[in-house]
Symmetry: D3
Subunit: 320 residues, 6 copies
Amino acid sequence: MAHKFISEINPGETVDDIYLVKEAVLRSTSRGDLYIAMFVCDKTGQLNGRVWQASEQIYGEIPKPGFVHIKGRSEVYQSSLQIVINNISVIDASRVNIDDFLAHTDKDVDKMFAEVKRIVGTVKNKQLKAIVDEFLADEELMKKFCYCPGGMSMHHDYIGGLLEHTWNMLRAASAILPLYPEVQADLVLAGIFIHDMGKTEELKYDTAFSYTDSGQLIGHITKSVLMLHKKAEQLAAKGVQIEGTILDALGHIILSHHGEYEFGSPKLPATAEAFMVCYIDDLDAKMNQVTRLIEEERGDSNWTGWQKPLETKLYRRRIE
Amino acid sequence: MAHKFISEINPGETVDDIYLVKEAVLRSTSRGDLYIAMFVCDKTGQLNGRVWQASEQIYGEIPKPGFVHIKGRSEVYQSSLQIVINNISVIDASRVNIDDFLAHTDKDVDKMFAEVKRIVGTVKNKQLKAIVDEFLADEELMKKFCYCPGGMSMHHDYIGGLLEHTWNMLRAASAILPLYPEVQADLVLAGIFIHDMGKTEELKYDTAFSYTDSGQLIGHITKSVLMLHKKAEQLAAKGVQIEGTILDALGHIILSHHGEYEFGSPKLPATAEAFMVCYIDDLDAKMNQVTRLIEEERGDSNWTGWQKPLETKLYRRRIE
Amino acid sequence: MAHKFISEINPGETVDDIYLVKEAVLRSTSRGDLYIAMFVCDKTGQLNGRVWQASEQIYGEIPKPGFVHIKGRSEVYQSSLQIVINNISVIDASRVNIDDFLAHTDKDVDKMFAEVKRIVGTVKNKQLKAIVDEFLADEELMKKFCYCPGGMSMHHDYIGGLLEHTWNMLRAASAILPLYPEVQADLVLAGIFIHDMGKTEELKYDTAFSYTDSGQLIGHITKSVLMLHKKAEQLAAKGVQIEGTILDALGHIILSHHGEYEFGSPKLPATAEAFMVCYIDDLDAKMNQVTRLIEEERGDSNWTGWQKPLETKLYRRRIE
Amino acid sequence: MAHKFISEINPGETVDDIYLVKEAVLRSTSRGDLYIAMFVCDKTGQLNGRVWQASEQIYGEIPKPGFVHIKGRSEVYQSSLQIVINNISVIDASRVNIDDFLAHTDKDVDKMFAEVKRIVGTVKNKQLKAIVDEFLADEELMKKFCYCPGGMSMHHDYIGGLLEHTWNMLRAASAILPLYPEVQADLVLAGIFIHDMGKTEELKYDTAFSYTDSGQLIGHITKSVLMLHKKAEQLAAKGVQIEGTILDALGHIILSHHGEYEFGSPKLPATAEAFMVCYIDDLDAKMNQVTRLIEEERGDSNWTGWQKPLETKLYRRRIE
Amino acid sequence: MAHKFISEINPGETVDDIYLVKEAVLRSTSRGDLYIAMFVCDKTGQLNGRVWQASEQIYGEIPKPGFVHIKGRSEVYQSSLQIVINNISVIDASRVNIDDFLAHTDKDVDKMFAEVKRIVGTVKNKQLKAIVDEFLADEELMKKFCYCPGGMSMHHDYIGGLLEHTWNMLRAASAILPLYPEVQADLVLAGIFIHDMGKTEELKYDTAFSYTDSGQLIGHITKSVLMLHKKAEQLAAKGVQIEGTILDALGHIILSHHGEYEFGSPKLPATAEAFMVCYIDDLDAKMNQVTRLIEEERGDSNWTGWQKPLETKLYRRRIE
Amino acid sequence: MAHKFISEINPGETVDDIYLVKEAVLRSTSRGDLYIAMFVCDKTGQLNGRVWQASEQIYGEIPKPGFVHIKGRSEVYQSSLQIVINNISVIDASRVNIDDFLAHTDKDVDKMFAEVKRIVGTVKNKQLKAIVDEFLADEELMKKFCYCPGGMSMHHDYIGGLLEHTWNMLRAASAILPLYPEVQADLVLAGIFIHDMGKTEELKYDTAFSYTDSGQLIGHITKSVLMLHKKAEQLAAKGVQIEGTILDALGHIILSHHGEYEFGSPKLPATAEAFMVCYIDDLDAKMNQVTRLIEEERGDSNWTGWQKPLETKLYRRRIE
């Protein structure tokens, strides 16, 4: 049976489905009765949920956060919709269709990954090729690479977003590189492929998107460089030696791809290849961010609300 | 006879050719004798020149700046090469091969302009097409557009540079637009075509590059918008009305294409099209700037000197 | 009958008057009954309004935003005053005393405009005089100039504010110019007169203050320059040629009058006249902003609340 | 006999006059002979001076810096004018016309000071009046106040500059205050009078302008506040008690008059009076700086050279 | 009887104790009945309080702010705890244990002050010693010094915080000075002792922490320098002359101890001693701030919430 | 025989010693004769050197840069000392006393390293201890650690500077840690020991200080983290597993120790330990920088010249 999405629930309906519970707390009413307040969520939004006549035991069983089967009824309270829950039971994550709970790229993951492999397959430099192949051969990592979001909130913040972002950057680079023959294409393509690989360790995306402790302390930029050096050592262990100049040129692209110190890059771009990766990264991120902010704005105003990171509203009216 | 370039003059040679004179001044030696000091220039560089046994009359005849035929001899003085001038006569600018004195794009101007026309010819929106065609029909302006440098010093700072920059941006946009179907291609292409058009009024480039008074007071961004409105009024006079929404969308792209207030944009990008033009502009400018700084660095060091606007040295060693 | 202002409504009163409706939405109660929530506004503030037992039809008739005649009763709900509306009918804007809904300068508009004309009437330079007169002769524009607010929120944000700000700047310039005889008075006075003229196109101020689409995309600085050039072309059509140097000197004052790139000026002041207009503009804006923030602060504390744009609280205690 | 100014010396002239010596050093030629190199200065500029066949004794007698009578001859050496000195003798500063060596306001000091006294004489608040009078009664301080430069280099950097700047600010305030009736005129006038008083201790201006050690460590802003408190204590000793609120309001104007932390103000303006003093200070400083930079630029170019603190060139062409 | 702390009150309890009342307002219910809303506070937090069936007279008697004895009952209203007050009577501040209302250092004030005296007692320079002793001899000031908080909110924001901060800085300086023998220890120790002394006048801390008017207008940095000069004058009156160089060196440490203009220092550190005081101040402030933010975070997350002034979350998990 | 230092050479002396040659170029005189210009250097400075009557062959043999034995004579040319070289022969670096050419810590390296080992020997946490020991056991690295400069120019820019800086930071941490018992001492000490370890790979210091290519592309911060992870893998290979939480806590200290993004830290401090290392690092660097700038300033002025990175002059006069 299809999941009933949060965004589809109207006032006065019966609710009987699996949802993600977040921030459940036990409270007492003014008469001293206990009740549980929580958020009932899926990928389309969240509503307040209330379990009246609760007990410490019921509260203790609720995962924080986690999946539950909820039976109850939707109602409007103080102008907001909420769910009065009559019955709540824990659901094992394995029985859940996670796609109902995490936003997902609307592109075809397999096709994107195939095209990524095709484009980085054009790398001719033997050492760069060895590095790229070593990453591609790491099945567990590639699985994460295809699943990981591209970020927490700014752009590509959905399952498959990292892949989609990398894929689109590789396509843009392929399209633009012929215009700049002095730029070393192999470095650009290998650099794009690896530049955000550390996000697979920086982000947690099993039930909801967040940073790992390690990700918050170290950051995906440094993590990507550490992964590059680890792959180089694995290659060395197999007898394939990667020269320091190759590792440094590639490492420099990763370290400098945010373009400014203030955005967390410990080095500024110092090669044509580093500049190109930096601009394509920023262009693709902004295009994703801007077009989605414009699409997701509700109402029919010509303008979105104020976008703090862009320091402007966005204009939605098309000339076409 | 081919021009003897400044960069080709060695110590102890006879000099007998046309050069650009700059900053000529009359001085007296410690014994009271008058002499003239000046710079002798062409597009490859400049040397000190000295006319000994000069008079106020000779000095008065020398253009400041302008072209002269010089006869003399090169010598090393205090470790620097200079030219001792025995004979100097004024040359009319019309008799000069200006290409010897102003650096020039190494691309084919006619082919670039043809491709510019071809790409903006794909604009389908009738009003945008009318605007683009009105610009293209302005022969005098198009002549300047094909001749004007792209800037004073940072990037494309040579005759034909504005055309080359616009041409390359249009090619990059054509290559990338298919990846972003939500972006209105007509606006992007028309915006790129016009975004720097005001440089034809901002810059002076007859004998050496400089700003016009008007350019320095008003700037090419505002000038491009003024030119856009002038073309719209010329169209209106012919009965072709351009709607305000079209002028505003296009004007906004021009005004915001420097991307930050600090770089002289009075508006920040607020449409996907404005963001795209801004990024392609910056990418193409940086690629031109970086690859030329790397090429022009003398010596065989792995690094260029410090590049103040980029806050880094540039790394020149290639992996290929 | 005098309008009953929002700020004068007490709990438990009958309400029977015309108000501005904003943000009306249709909602359903927990029992499924429909009701309408809205803001009921005039220039003194706004209250929540509720129409119980509403229908889609009633909701459809309510302007969004617009004027309505409301009959109902004020009551306190959850510590806030709200209006329970029993009857609501649409009112044509032409029947409304707009002064009840938009804050208005407390100065005499006619006197201010007469003094503006008198001061700019002292301009002696023939071309500047022709430009000023061409603006003054544009009756529709002058009507807007006398009515337009001086800004959205920071200073002179009321009907007639643009005139009041321009008038006060002209008076200040007249008072100060004799102290600086090197400064060209004609340029300063003409520059002040035109510097914010583009606000008449940037702002919308029929029922409530907001930006026009065009204003938000282009901004009043560029619009003022465009208006200046349009007037120059109208003069040219009449045979009165304005030299480029005059347009550039005046245009530069307009473009640079915000004084810093970060405040949206695409050029920094480069003439004594531009510096003077910039300082007088800032002084008059800050005096208006600071004295009104001090006056409008409720309570008798020695300090106002924190003023984010000024990065300080303001001290209200007077020594007098 | 009139002083022969440095700017009037031509090549091949006899020199026989008093000059300021700076940076005298003893050097040896390649043959081992000793000579003295120095700068020979007055308020119009400086030239290199050389004493050939020097000795340690002669060198020891030359003041570093100080005044000397020089006899010698001007000549051009390596394209620059220098003075070959045959005879040099020390001159006591008391015998020197210091006005030949320090630039001086071209306004009448007595008239300016009289007008300063007249304007601050309009202060009505008794305590502020007492403070102003206490400053005026300090003859030694007032003598310095009339003599001290207004700054080291940016504006009013000449003898009498502090007085001229204060005088002009008081005149501007008098002209503008009637436009802003809410602003407390007494505070503004007293604040202007005292705001830069600490410069009399911050700067040294006997032979050349420099900072005192104390001035560099503490700064004129804090010194002005310390002087204000000292005057208040002297009044208290005479039985005239100044309330803390008066001292704080006045002290706040002094502390905040640079308008931004980055310019050395430890407090931002928080009263209308502080804002007004800050703007008038900046306006008068910039008008002085800009008009003098324009006047002093040599040649007839429409533009001055690049002005780093203003981030622009200045446009000199007048429309008049 | 021990005070019942706000943080200890549970729903459904009888409340009968003294609390601090803040922001009391008189309101009317929808039926027109009057009630009083207020905050009921102590050092552990605040709750909403309601007096139903109130009158203007009762309201007039409640201090704003001040201490009251409250009898009533706690209950949950809309998920928040509030206190329904049946009886309220004013309490004189003298009868209150202020320590229940103001957070307090957990260190021993007497011991800290003794150690402060011991450490500054090691100052050998006679003039610095005289200044330090003059401060120590000012009993009223020393009482404030031992009681005053170290700041409003960022660090050491509790009674005794100024002493604790100064004490800890002196201990750190004593520990570090032997590593830097070129640094003049006497200046560092005297500088630390006086650097924040002006906070005793800048802050108000009788019932709750706030800025004095004078403190907000002038700031503790300038106030500390004024206090230093006052002490020097008191010494001078006793015949102990303090040289200007001593006052300047010490004053410079005070003025520059915030290290950057943007943090309110009108001078940047220009001596080794000023740098050392600046770093030790910042280190001690940050250690206090960070360790307390980590301790006070509720819950068992590995991270605190976002700390805006630090631009990061803080990581709480220990390796030990 | 003791080396004759550059700073000790006077005009007219015979020169016969080993020096470092830098930037040797072949030039021709105005008569067409070839000569070689170069810098003749040691750790005390550099002079111009000239080999007249040179040939391409002689020029080809001179190392660029490298060591040579020079015979010639010092003379003054155009007021500067230069060396006229009669005989020049190449010297193998192995025969050179490198200490004559590179500035060196004036502390005892062995004692400092012994104390470093003693202090980090107090680390109790087993995993941190294993990491520290693994670094200490790397003899080649420790040799570099004791020899490497602490920086290129700002502070500790001499052989042994990295050790001296680390040693002094460890001593300061040991002195201060008892004041902050909540701070985990083991992490602070291990963090200090490793924080700049990457400088051994970032800097080149065999004949003169410069960055390695790898150092300039990657930076010592990232290199230090890479070294930490390499040591952890070496330990893992020996069966000693280091937990991710330990590596992250330590890695975070390294990544954030510059304290601001703008100074090249990709992460801001988020633990008390990271803040402490950051402050001690900055304090020790500034103390070294400031005291050396004060010592090295020539002349007896109370002030050094302007120090651009500190935005101030430094005051040298002591009160002692």
